[in-house]
């Protein structure tokens, strides 16, 4: 709990909230009447069995999908009808469940692409590529922070699955987002990478909000302050890990007999 204590240094205020979030695909209700509050300086986990609607909620929050009903508010601004790239520029940045890197570019180029726009170096078609070298310092900091220093000049497609995920987190952090949405950041990772990424998430959450979908419950127990359990598109339970884990309905629906 020492982690939670240090994270408490900043006042946890709501930065992203959803009210009555609903999404139907034809007759199928994927997400039904979901209320969520994501706090600054907190790690919030979204868990639930496969098909519970976790990724759909992510797509709705980041505007990759348009909700059927409900409202989304990002730092006092209604973003229910805002375009996804605009939402990203406002500081709400997501990762993807399937690793989202630019496969044929190097690790350095991947991170630099994320840095190009905030540094006003994305529309110049008359400048040479060397003009991007001034992003290298910041890019190398990020690459080092996630432990990819040795692979700096490797092509992203040549990295292992876990390392690709690590790279994706580095590019996401490059935007210095206010709210970070991570879709299964640990899936397919080795134990070593899980430790690294847990440390990074804990660190970045000191100054921003993090919402993550995660199946690895020991990770959830370790780094998340708040847990929301989804089942069939609806919220089943909410609270800290201990209270959620002891909830009878949750144990029945999701965790089975597993003792967390």
């Amino acid at each position: 709990m020492a982690v939670a204590m240090t994270s408490m240094q900043e006042e946890p205020r709501v930065v992203l909230s959803a009210r009555g979030l609903t999404k139907s695909f034809g007759a199928f209700l994927a997400v039904r009447d979901v209320d969520l509050d994501i706090h600054h300086a907190r790690v919030h986990a979204l868990i639930g069995p496969n098909g519970a609607g976790k990724t759909t909620v992510f797509n709705l929050l980041t505007k990759f999908l348009q909700p059927t009903a409900g409202t989304i508010t990002l730092m006092d601004t209604d973003i229910t009808r805002t375009a996804p790239d605009k939402v990203a520029r406002m500081g709400l940045v997501r990762s993807f469940q399937i690793s989202a890197v630019f496969p044929h570019l190097t690790v350095l180029d991947n991170v630099r692409i994320a840095l190009q726009r905030p540094n006003g170096l994305s529309t110049q078609f008359w400048l040479p590529l060397s003009s991007l070298d001034r992003l290298n310092e910041r890019a190398d900091q990020l690459i080092e922070a996630v432990g990819l220093k040795r692979e700096r000049n490797a092509v992203a497609a040549d990295l292992s699955y876990g390392r690709k995920r690590v790279l994706e987190i580095a590019t996401t952090l490059a935007l210095d987002p206010k709210v970070l949405l991570l879709d299964e950041p640990m899936a397919g990772m080795g134990q070593e990478d899980i430790g690294t990424i847990s440390g990074i998430i804990r660190e970045v959450a000191k100054t921003r909000a993090v919402l993550m979908v995660e199946h690895n419950l020991s990770v959830v127990a370790d780094i998340c302050h708040q847990v929301t359990v989804l089942q069939r598109g609806e919220i089943l339970a909410e609270g800290d890990y201990a209270s959620v884990a002891s909830d009878e309905r949750v144990r029945l629906a999701y965790m089975g007999t597993e003792d967390a």
């Binding site: 980041t62 990759f64 375009a83 996804p84 790239d85 605009k86 990203a88 520029r89 940045v93 997501r94 990762s95 993807f96 989202a100 890197v101 630019f102 496969p103 044929h104 570019l105 190097t106 180029d109 630099r112 692409i113 994320a114 190009q116 726009r117 905030p118 170096l121 994305s122 529309t123 110049q124 078609f125 008359w126 400048l127 040479p128 590529l129 003009s131 991007l132 040795r150 692979e151 700096r152 000049n153 490797a154 092509v155 040549d158 990295l159 292992s160 390392r163 590019t171 935007l175």
Partner: protein, 332 residues
């Protein structure tokens, strides 16, 4: 695992140094060949080749580097030919200004077509460009300034900057060569620029580019307009070379031909489309006098290419053992 990635990274930087050297050697050889070529080949044929090579490279900017398949690029090529022809013949502009009028007109057409087309992806994108280019074809058939079926005939080549007489074939050839090189230089810079990096990222993973905050549509439109303008540059000089502008250059067959040239040469390679255009133009020229129908031969060549050399001539060369030893790599 990390060691493998590490050594791969090392050899990647080594490869790019070798590639830079190989490129430099090829560029010098290519330039020398283009400078002395008129002594060995019919200059009009060479100029036609350069026009189509530039056209194909402009098209490749969109297909190879942005991942957008336009099926209406004849609009920009042929449209610019009309604009340039009209500007120098009716308005009496000098050739360099006439070509600029063609480029500006093509860029404007590109803005209009691109504005509608980028809203859809894949086959729908291609269909919108085709539909709009068919509309433009009909416009050219009906509009008085294009002279319908006759086209704009006997376009004067004039004097470059009021000094150099372009009716002299040698002067004209070096003018076309200079324009071609400027066009290639623009394409090269465009690809290897901060903007080009974003285009690559969109081609590689559009969803991720959006999630990093890029307004993907604007970048696509920018690439579309640039591609249209360069296609217009090629069309403008073609009107001066042949001294006419006709419906052939705005017809859908021309849009198909440029796709063929690009595929044959190698999508996503800077110089591939030059060779693709060379092959198609040479085939057309040599078969034009024979009894054998050209379209059947180009059709067969196309089939063979798609079935056996999917990367195209230059793409296959880059991927071959020799190409890799020279430091090239081809990823597509």
């Amino acid at each position: 695992m990390t060691d493998i990635a590490h050594s791969a990274a090392k050899s990647a930087t080594g490869r790019s140094a070798t590639a830079a050297r190989s490129y430099a050697i090829f560029i010098v050889i290519g330039l020398a060949a283009l400078v002395v070529a008129p002594a060995f080949f019919y200059p009009i044929f060479l100029m036609k080749l350069l026009c189509f090579a530039l056209f194909a490279c402009a098209f490749n900017l969109l297909l190879g580097y942005t991942g957008l398949l336009s099926f209406g690029h004849a609009t920009f090529f042929g449209g610019a030919a009309y604009f340039t022809a009209h500007a120098v013949k009716e308005w009496g502009l000098s050739p360099e200004l006439g070509v600029l009028v063609g480029v500006a007109g093509a860029a404007l057409l590109g803005l209009i077509v691109g504005f509608f087309a980028i809203r859809r992806q894949g086959i729908y994108f291609a269909m919108i460009t085709l539909a709009l280019s068919q509309m433009f074809f009909f416009f050219c058939l009906q509009a008085p300034f294009t002279h319908g079926e006759d086209g704009i005939q006997s376009v004067p080549r004039g004097r470059l900057f009021g000094l150099v007489d372009l009716n002299d074939t040698t002067n004209m050839y070096y003018f076309v060569l200079a324009v071609f090189l400027v066009g290639m230089l623009v394409i090269w810079r465009f690809i290897n620029s901060p903007f080009g990096m974003i285009l690559k990222s969109i081609r590689e993973n559009e969803q991720r580019a959006i999630s990093l905050g890029y307004s993907v549509a604007r970048y696509k439109l920018g690439a579309f307009v640039m591609s249209a303008a360069l296609a217009g540059l090629a069309g403008g000089i073609k009107a001066l070379v042949f001294q006419f502008a006709t419906l052939t250059d705005v017809a859908w067959q021309m849009s198909g031909e440029v796709i063929l040239m690009t595929l044959l040469g190698g999508i996503g390679t800077l110089i591939g489309p030059i060779f693709g255009a060379g092959l198609v133009v040479a085939l057309e020229n040599y078969l034009a006098t024979s009894q054998f129908p050209v379209t059947i031969v180009t059709g067969v060549v196309f089939m063979v290419c798609v079935l056996l050399f999917r990367r195209g001539l230059i793409g296959e060369f880059y991927a071959s053992r020799l190409g890799r030893r020279l430091g090239f790599e081809h990823r597509r």
